[in-house]
């Protein structure tokens, strides 16, 4: 049996880790705004960030290509700053994976924030704390299980992103080929050992993460 090429798995890990940080930063902020602020279009915003959960990955990938491609303002800005295009690079895979994971983070963290008693936040305000301190010392610690769960789900989701990643980052072995894409490639070309190994690893990681997040967010676990 030929030696297994570990590059796709390592790339997937790298993409998933960076995506997790990105998406937790953005997603937790959005979740807090959605849970605590009343404004027009709040539910529309929630629907918008949830879209990646239900849209076909190709639709998502197409949007990203249009938004981040060489002709777009965002793509040109990125190219001006870094000197490279975002499309067909592993960084493009990070963006694709992040957008795919965003709904999970927002949904999970919003529920966690909503479960924090607003009287506790009000109490912190009357005790002289600024909004940032209220968040840091009261809201976030009390929602911490949910936020950790959100981060783990983001990681699991980003680790296995396929459709959008394929469209945005392509399938360049040794450069942009992530584990999920490599499985497709291996299955198509009859390299069953590689496909099976990667399938098993991704499944195991996903199972462990889901099991842990379930325990973290189970009622009565506080």
């Amino acid at each position: 049996m030929r030696e297994i090429d570990w590059f796709p798995l390592l790339l997937s890990l790298r993409v998933a880790i960076i995506s997790t940080f990105l998406v937790v930063g953005v997603g937790v902020s959005l979740a807090w705004v959605l849970a605590r602020k009343r404004f027009r279009g709040r539910e529309a915003l929630d629907a918008l960030v949830t879209l990646p959960l239900v849209l076909p990955p190709t639709v998502l990938g197409y949007y990203l290509l249009v938004l981040l491609g060489r002709g777009s303002p965002a793509g040109q800005l990125y190219e001006a700053v870094t000197g490279r295009s975002l499309v067909f690079t592993w960084q493009g895979a990070v963006v694709a994976a992040s957008v795919g994971a965003l709904p999970l983070v927002v949904k999970t963290a919003r529920a966690a924030f909503a479960a924090v008693d607003t009287d506790l936040e009000d109490a912190a305000r009357t005790l002289g704390k600024s909004e940032w301190e209220v968040f840091r010392r009261v809201t976030l610690p009390l929602a911490s299980r949910g936020v950790v769960a959100a981060a783990m789900l983001a990681f699991a989701r980003a680790l296995g992103d396929f459709g959008a990643t394929l469209m945005v980052a392509g399938n360049i072995p040794g450069r942009t080929q992530t584990a999920a894409v490599a499985i497709y490639d291996a299955a198509q070309s009859g390299r069953d050992a590689l496909a099976l190994t990667l399938v098993f690893i991704l499944s195991a990681v996903a199972f462990v993460i889901l099991y842990t997040t379930n325990r973290l967010t189970a009622p009565g676990q506080r």
């Binding site: 008693d117 009000d122 109490a123 305000r125 009357t126 005790l127 002289g128």
Partner: protein, 381 residues
């Protein structure tokens, strides 16, 4: 002095007036909070059913709810003024707020809860301050415990200690005793009284319990559908007959059992004989009550309503003038409580200056004088 004059309207009454059961009020189309109250130092009770606007008033003062219009001032500082567009952030109002369900932070132990308002201080300093406050309320032993491992009465005291750690300019207490049993309630009422006499801050005390209002309130405002419908001293507001046990809680020092001797319906008065025969008896004129001659009744008089004189007062309107002998002098802050034996043992509070000028000493012969309407009647238990 805290002054509050605010108006807030709610289009949807469900926001502020919860309706119980399946009955929905026919005119529940809107709710308007409209209050104008001055809070001097001391305990002011806001009394009323749930949904009457008491808590809303408290939240407006703290800044948690923004009134539509009006003004809130503490001393010379404006906390809110719709005309001048002033709305001081909650954290700058320095209100000691004790929430109805206490709102102790569940992830912090009692000590960390009390340290919470002063996290800007050095660690050792804030520890010392917090521990000091916990000990002052007799709950130093709970310092390392999380709120869920603290009893109701202890949690109440931790919450009070935390509110005081902010060095507040006024206290806002939202039904602080509603969840406690009677014994703990009485203990905490004692704590609050002590705190009140030490600090002399405006204390706004929201409750729907008459007992608490009578025990703690120096003034009471009764709320109904967002408005004040009665105001005054709690005993007046809640009116007689009130159980004599409550009168004892309210700081009415002179409470005597007696027997109605005669009634003067046209004069609106009746004569009651007080005291047991061992010490002798005395007769006082009190407002006409529902009791007939020969029936037992309890008479209560505040110590501040009794005048002391060293010669028999003449040509005064007070209908009750009794002779007695000073049996004890007790310092009570700025006042001195003078105990006088004259049939029963009376307590009259006078200023220290009066004690000096009248030359009041134990054994001195004095005269007591008080008005008929200074006497309150209670049902005899």
């Amino acid at each position: 002095m805290l002054s509050v004059k605010i108006i807030k309207e709610f289009a949807d009454s469900s926001l502020s007036t919860p309706t119980h059961g399946d009955h929905v009020e026919a005119d529940a189309s809107g709710f308007m909070l409209n209050v104008d109250i001055y809070f001097p130092p001391g305990v002011t009770v806001l009394f009323g059913a749930s949904g009457s606007g008491k808590t809303l008033t408290l939240k407006s003062i703290a800044g948690l709810v923004r009134p539509d219009s009006g003004m809130i001032k503490i001393g010379e500082e404006t906390l809110f003024d719709s005309g001048q567009r002033i709305n001081l952030p909650i954290r700058r109002r320095r209100a000691g707020y004790v929430f109805q369900h206490l709102a102790l932070f569940p992830h912090l132990d009692a000590l960390a809860n009390v340290e919470f308002p002063v996290t800007h201080l050095a660690r050792a300093e804030r520890r010392a301050l917090a521990l000091d406050l916990l000990r002052k309320f007799g709950v130093g032993h709970t310092a390392q415990r999380l709120p869920r491992n603290i009893s109701g009465g202890e949690a109440q005291r931790v919450a009070l200690a935390r509110a005081l750690a902010t060095n507040p300019r006024f206290l806002l207490l939202d039904e602080p005793l509603s969840a406690l049993d009677e014994v703990v309630k009485l203990e905490i009422i004692g704590d609050l009284k002590k705190m009140n006499s030490e600090m002399r801050l405006p204390i706004v005390y929201v409750t729907h319990s008459r007992d608490e209002a009578l025990a703690l309130g120096e003034r009471a405002y009764v709320f109904e559908r967002g408005r004040v419908v009665a105001a005054g001293e709690p005993v007046e507001v809640f009116g007689a007959p009130v159980k004599a046990s409550i009168a004892r809680l309210t700081g009415v020092e002179n409470i005597f059992d007696g027997i109605v001797i005669s009634r003067d319906a046209s004069g609106g008065t009746m004569v009651v004989e007080l005291g047991e025969s061992v010490e002798g008896v005395c007769r006082v004129e009190v407002p006409l009550g529902g009791k007939d001659a020969g029936e037992r009744v309890t008479v209560a008089i505040r110590s501040g309503d009794i005048l002391l004189a060293t010669v028999r007062p003449q040509s005064v309107s007070a209908r009750n003038i009794l002779a007695g002998t000073v049996s004890a002098l007790e310092e009570r802050g700025d006042q001195t409580l003078v105990r006088v034996r004259g049939g029963v043992e009376w307590a009259a509070s006078v200023t220290r200056l009066s004690v000096r000028e009248l030359g009041l000493t134990v054994g001195k012969e004095v005269w007591l004088a008080f008005k008929t309407y200074s006497c309150r009647l209670f049902d005899n238990e």
